[in-house]
Symmetry: C2
Subunit: 431 residues, 2 copies
């Protein structure tokens, strides 16, 4: 399958900044970008698409999510954190079976595709269900079965979570032409005993695995860890060898300078989740400092229960402005920085090194943003429009590995009506 | 003209909170809401509209804007504040004539109507042009010709700005069936001499006018005023009698406790502009404290040059989450609070006491939000969906004084294509 896009403005990363190549051609051959340029390529194409008034750019990599939690969107909003979690979220999660998780996952895929997300990193139970949905939908995902252990007497060989995680890895890693990668996950320091964590990390490192963790999301979590272990959560994980293979840490709101040094030295990636950190009152991760140090920082939505959507353009917007406000300096975060966080940095974090950037030879994970609505006029600076003015409904097309999965409100691989029906059915069971 | 909406979910304010009346009828007779209820009204209607899967609520009141600045959307993004203002914004503004201001205003009206804004408070030059556009479009606005004076020798009788402001008032106040109200405006303390301010305030107070000002937007402005006058900007204005009639102050980022006492005692309204305050690095206005004290706080976008859009749902979202993050408490701002800020509080600020709330006898300033997109499913808590999940493209219909001005992507009173053409023409002159 060969596709040619014509009359396109194309956002290209060159010499450390993004530039727009205007009114150009972009060709896709199979799952890869085969041509970018001002001259019309001479070959023949199966499809030619007119991209007038549209900006083509890399799709978004949502690097911290709990997909099926869309089923809890808006539940217990405005309650204090503990009340929300223990009285509202956990009792509903207890009722979830594979059937509801499938419905929730599919709803999340609809939302993500419509908002230009091509790949996501997820952490939830029943991940086989999510893997199958992603494979069928044509998207990309780094999936995990997170490990937790509260019982100090639990032995690694008795942990069904470790067993499920390894089973998932064996069954699904590199599936669907490599679109699905299986990561490892310890939910967080405060939800796992040292014994279980250590044994599981060994399994992860043996496989050169990528470890997905929550880290220092709140002051409470951070300080309680220091009281318990005399170590910050980052030090605790590092001490257990968690950063010896590959790893990424979500939130990192309350990390200390010495934790950032660990990230830098060990190549730990950080995921910034501004909506969730603001909404839950967690606070401001020191993202500008981490970026300055050279730590790879990506963006994520977190689950829709604490966001309450999976909208990467909203995270881009928040990441671009809240740090300016917090540091009282209009130049702290720039459009170039946050666009790169949402695309290239995310792909690098996921271990997808031929993704996240529009260039010849890379995977064709491409979105087109329509610039025809009043809030995107006049077109003076397309980078600024994406960062500060756009909304996810401006995404016109989402392509993954050369296949159009969403275009002009239509899903090519997902049945929206059927998914809504399954979600309604799930609601009746859960609420 | 009598319109009946059926199968509608309707957001009603009752006993201090919002509740949704589900699957109900809402009738509009002329410019007023004539019926709300579960039973179908017996009379006949000119139009019946099915509102299945939609939430009807009050339209938004954008209480601080500089409409024509949409023409500067994205200009000089990411530059330091002074460089942005002096090297980029001012030179372009110098070239603006009535023709470009008309094009910019009309583009802003397109954007606002599509995002559910029914009324706005504006501060810009050539306001007659804006007044005519608003009158023709069918929207509401509180307009001003802001007064500035940098020359200490300028006498009030020589101020063309005072003259223009009074002329605007005489010509347009209460025009278009009261949809257009003319306010008074001193741009800010730092852009006006005491002599001119005092004389102009006298004119405002004589007319029981509503004064629109910028106040304590930045630390620099606030501290320089204290150095110059030994007074905070709020004290300076209060001392000149600026709060003796009616007044509202935009930004208020760096106001002190004693300033808030002045607001409370004098009935000064505050406009919160979270996007602009974050993007420009101004900081966090202490909105939760002002609300607790009982000060009337509304929401505004500020101009699109520093936002970079006129999206009230985005301001609602930001106002609902950033203070939680800043104060590290998930319960600081609630959906009820911010929805009221964007609607009722704004209408009260504008002196439109029969607006901003869906109830029988009030003006029919109504929007319908479509709940059919994946990011708004499942429908568990409609207040939370509006506040935390929605985007302005979810606005399906905008009605002002009983007339539908926007519906399902179509404008009833504005010619989008013609406006885009005028904007392109303006661009060629300005850039």
């Amino acid at each position: 399958m060969k596709t040619l896009f014509k009359n396109a403005d194309i956002l290209l990363y060159e010499n450390g900044i993004y530039n727009v190549l205007q009114n150009a051609y972009l060709a896709v051959d199979g799952d890869k970008i085969s041509y970018i340029g001002k001259d019309e390529p001479k070959e023949s194409f199966d499809t030619v698409k007119d991209m007038s008034d549209k900006l083509m750019m890399s799709g978004f990599y949502n690097c911290h999510n709990h997909c099926p939690m869309v089923l809890l969107r808006g539940v217990g909003s405005d309650l204090p954190l503990n009340e929300w979690l223990f009285d509202k979220v956990f009792p509903i999660e207890d009722k979830l079976t594979a059937e509801e998780i499938e419905a929730g996952t599919l709803l999340a895929l609809l939302e993500m595709l419509a908002g230009g997300t091509v790949s996501f990193s997820d952490m939830y139970f029943e991940p086989q269900v999510t893997a199958k949905a992603v494979a069928d939908a044509g998207m990309k995902a780094n999936l995990t079965r997170p490990v937790q252990s509260f019982d100090p007497s639990e032995e690694p060989q008795d942990s069904f979570r470790i067993a499920q995680s390894l089973e998932l890895y064996n069954e699904w890693n590199n599936a669907a032409d490599g679109r699905i990668l299986i990561d490892f996950s310890i939910h967080a320091e405060y939800t796992c005993t040292e014994k279980i964590a250590r044994a599981y990390i060994e399994e992860c490192n043996k496989r050169n695995g990528l470890l997905h963790i929550h880290l220092s999301e709140t002051v409470k979590e951070h300080n309680e860890c220091k009281e318990k272990y005399g170590k910050t959560p980052a030090e605790w994980f590092n001490n257990l060898g968690a950063f010896d293979s590959r790893a990424f840490a979500a939130h990192c709101v309350t990390v200390e300078d010495s934790d950032m040094e660990i990230f830098l030295n060990k190549g730990v990636h950080v995921v910034h989740n501004p909506s969730s950190n603001m909404k839950l009152g967690s606070g401001f991760a020191r993202i500008p400092k981490m970026l300055d140090m050279g730590i790879n920082v990506a963006l994520g939505t977190d689950g829709a229960a604490s966001n309450n959507n999976l909208d990467m353009l909203e995270e881009i917007h928040l990441a671009s402005i809240i740090h300016n406000g917090y540091m009282q300096n209009a130049t702290v975060m720039k459009a170039d920085t946050v666009i790169k966080m949402a695309t290239q940095n995310g792909a690098v974090l996921q271990g997808r090194n031929d993704c996240g950037d529009i260039k010849v030879g890379n995977r064709a994970d491409i979105i087109a943003i329509s610039l025809d609505k009043p809030h995107l006029r006049p077109i003076i600076d397309e980078k600024a429009l994406i960062t500060y003015s756009a909304q996810s409904s401006d995404v016109y097309m989402t392509m993954v590995d050369g296949k159009v999965l969403y275009e002009n409100g239509e899903y090519k691989t997902l049945d929206q009506e059927k998914i809504y029906y399954s979600v309604e059915k799930a609601m009746q069971k859960l609420y």
